[in-house]
Amino acid sequence: MATKKPKDEKTLTGTGIVKKVLKDSGNTLLFGYPGGAIMPFFDEIHNDPDITHILMRHEQSAGHAAEGFAAASGKLGVCMTTSGPGATNLITALANAYYDSSPILAFSGQVATHLIGNDAFQEADLIGATMAVTKHNYLIKDVKDVGRVFKEAIHIATTGRPGPVFIDFPKDIQLTDSKQKHPVPDRINLAGYNPNIYSKAASRQIKYALDMIMKAKYPVILAGGGISIANAHSELEELVNQLKIPVVYTLKGKGIISDDHPYTLGLIGMHGRMRSNFAVAETDLLIAIGCRFSDRITGDLNQFPGQGGAKVIHIDVDAAEIGKNVPVDLPIVADAKMALTEMNSQLRTRLADPKLPKSQSWWHRWIKDIKQSEGIPNIVKKGPRKGIYPEKVMYELNRILKPDDVVVTEVGQNQMYAAHFLNIAKPRCFITSGGLGTMGFGFPAAIGAKMARQKSEIWLIAGDGSIQMNSHELATVKQHRIKVNIVILNNKYLGMVRQWQELFHDKRYAGTDLGMENNGKSEYWPDFIKLAGAYGLNGRKVNDPKKVMDALKESRESKETFVVEINTEPEANVLPMLPPGGALNSYYSVEGKQESIYNCFRRLPRVEAEAENYVFKVDVKDPKKLGKKR
C-alpha cells in the first residue's frame, strides 16, 4: 500500500509530520522492524537520503540498539515497530531504558482508530502495557495532534531525568493528510511538566553541603549514572581534585571518572571492590550524586552507609529518588552538572581561605595505601593452574583497550567481571544494563553504540547464555557492515545463577547447565565460531590462556564483526561478593572465603582513624610508619 500523497504539496500526512519532526530535531538514525501497521511510515522514509534505518532482527533489539546509541552519544535513541507483537516485543527494551533513565523515543503502529478495542488482528493495548515502563506514553487519535505529540515526546524523553516515551500511532492517522500548513507547533506547552533543573534553593543547599563536607572526617563521593546523563564528568573530576576525597561509583557510574584517577576506589555494591565497600562502610558522610541507592548498591539498608551512622547528601534531578531508599540529611534536587558547577565555584572561594584547617590528610594516605594493597589477585596476573579464568581475560583486555574504545556488556558474570576489573578511562565508554539486568541487551546495544561512535572499537563482553538471547543480530551487523568485537566468555553455564546455586542452594545446578554429558564426553551447543560462520563472519576459539591476547588482537584488526569464543573455567565465581541483602560482615573474599570485610582488611595496613587528633596508625611494629600528629 503506497502512502497517499496529499494533493496540496504544502500539507503533510501523519507519517510526513513525524519525518519532519525527526529531521528538524536531528534524530535521523532509526532502529526498527516493519510490519502491517507501520508500513506507511517505512514507505515515507524509504530511499530518503537523510534518514538511516538499521533493520534489526527482533523488535527488542531495536529498542536496545536505540538505548546503546543513546548511551554512547548522549542523544535521543529512536526505534519503531509494528503493532501487536511488534510493540509487545519492545516492552523489555522500554523497561530497560526506564530503569536506566535513557532517552528513547519509541513508536509503534497501531490498528486503525475505528478498529481499536475490537480485538483486531495484531492489536494490543500498548498504552496499558507500557504505562509502568515508560516516562510517558501517548495514543494519537487525530492527525492534528501528531506534530505536537512527537515534539512533546522528544522533549519529555530528553529533559529532566530522561526516560523512554512511547507513542501508539494508528495506521489510518499515519495515512491521513493533516491539511495543516503548520502541523508542528512552535512551542511546547506542558502545564504538568517542569523538569527540575536548578533553583536558588539548590544553591543554598550546596552551601550547607560544603559546610558538611568541610566538617566531615571521612567523606566519600558516590557517583552514579546521573552524572553521565548530565555530562558532568569534568565537573566531578574538578570537585574530586579540589576536595581530594575518594570516589566510588555505581555500575552505571563506571567511566564517569577514570579508574586510573588517584582518588577513584572503584565499583561498590554486591560485586564491588572491597576497598570501595569498606570506604562506604567507614565513611561519616556520603555524597551521593545522580544515583538511586538500588539494593545491589546498599545491601542491608540498616547498615548503609557508614554502618548506619553516616550522614548522607543526595543530589538528584528526580525529587522522588531522594529519601526513597536511604534517609537523606541534605537533599539537593538539581541537575548534576549545574549542582557540581555551583559546588566547584563555591569551593574555590572557600579553599582560597588560608585559615582553612588542613584536615583529612590521613584519609588520603589511607586511600593510597588501600589502593596499593588491594591489587589485582594473583590468579589474574599469573594465570590459573589450568584453564582460563575470566579475570585473566579482563587483564588482557585492559592491555588492548584504548581510551576511546567502548565496552558493552551483557548481563551476568561477564558484566560483573567487566565492571570490577576493566579500566575505563572516559565517560560513555561503558554501556551496560543496570537496573533491569536484561540478558540479551549487550549485543544490540553494541550495534547502537557503534552507530554513535563510528571511529571507536566496540567490545562486547558476553556470556554464552546472554549472547544466545539476541545472537540473531549477527545478521544485522553483517548486512549493515557494523563492526563489533564480540568476546564470549563461555563457561557452558548460566554462570551467575550457577554461582548463586553454588553459594546458596547447595550446588544444585537446576536449569543452569547449557551443555550435556554424553558417554563421559561433554557436549555443548552452539559452536559460536560456526554460528558466526553461518552469518558469513569469522571468529577464533581460545582454549589456552596464552592465546587470549592473540585472539583479541585478531579481532581488533578484523574489518568486520569478529567472534572470540573463550572457553573459561566452568565453575569460576565472580568474587568478591556481598550476599544479597547482607552486610559487610558476610563478605565472600577473592579467595571465596566467607568472612567479615573487616577481617579481609586486617591483611592490609590497619587503619585506626582517631578523628580527634588525626592520627594515622598502621598496625605494624615499626613506629616510624605512624602518622604524625597534627
Binding site: M131, A132, L139, I156, A191, G192, Y193, D318, A320
Partner: protein, 173 residues
C-alpha cells in the same frame, strides 16, 4: 475519634489534565508501589480540560512523601497538594439502604436520621434509603449505629472530597 492503632490517612488533591487513561496512570502508580488507596474521587473541575481528583491514602510519612513526589512526576498531573482536616473542608456522601426490623420499626431509624441530619430519599414498606453527608467518621458511626436498629443492606459512598479552607485554593495560574 482517632485510634492510635489505625494506619494514618492523608488526603491528596490533584489537578490533572483530562486525558483518557489519566485515572489509570494514577491508580496504576499506587498498585505498582504497593500503596493502599482507600478512596479515589474525581470529576471535572472548574476549568475546561482539567479534572480534580481527591485521593485518600493510608500510610506513614514516608509513604506520603513518595506519593507526593511520584504524583508530581506524572506528566498529566498539574498540581499536587496535601489536605489536612485543620486546613480544609472535607465532605463525603453516602447512600445507605436499610431493611427495617420489626422490633424497632421506622421510628428508631428516623430518630437517628434526625441526630445525623440525614435526608430520607426513598422509602418502601420494608426499606429506607438515606443520604448521609459529612466526614468519613460521621458516616462510619451512622452505619454502625443504624445497624443496631435495622439491617444495613447496601452502602454506596462517594469517597472524600475536599477544598482548602479560607482563601487558599488549588488552581492553575
Amino acid at each position: 475519634m482517632s485510634d492510635p492503632d489505625k494506619t494514618p490517612v492523608f488526603l491528596v488533591a490533584l489537578l490533572v489534565e483530562d486525558h483518557p487513561g489519566v485515572t489509570m496512570k494514577i491508580a496504576g502508580m499506587f498498585a505498582r508501589r504497593g500503596i493502599n488507596l482507600s478512596s479515589f474521587t474525581g470529576a471535572a473541575s472548574e476549568k475546561k480540560g482539567f479534572s480534580r481528583i481527591i485521593l485518600k491514602v493510608e500510610g506513614d510519612h514516608q509513604v506520603f512523601e513518595q506519593i507526593y513526589k511520584q504524583m508530581n512526576k506524572l506528566i498529566e498531573v498539574v498540581k499536587v497538594k496535601t489536605l489536612y482536616p485543620d486546613n480544609s473542608t472535607l465532605r463525603e456522601l453516602a447512600l445507605v439502604k436499610v431493611t427495617l426490623k420489626k422490633e424497632y420499626g421506622r421510628a428508631a431509624v428516623m430518630s437517628l436520621n434526625e441526630i445525623f441530619r440525614n435526608k430520607v430519599i426513598d422509602v418502601t414498606r420494608k426499606t429506607m434509603t438515606m443520604e448521609v453527608v459529612g466526614s468519613s467518621d460521621k458516616i462510619d458511626s451512622f452505619i454502625e449505629l443504624v445497624g443496631e436498629r435495622a439491617v444495613v443492606r447496601e452502602v454506596a459512598r462517594s469517597g472524600t472530597v475536599a477544598l482548602y479552607r479560607g482563601e487558599d485554593s488549588i488552581f492553575l495560574d
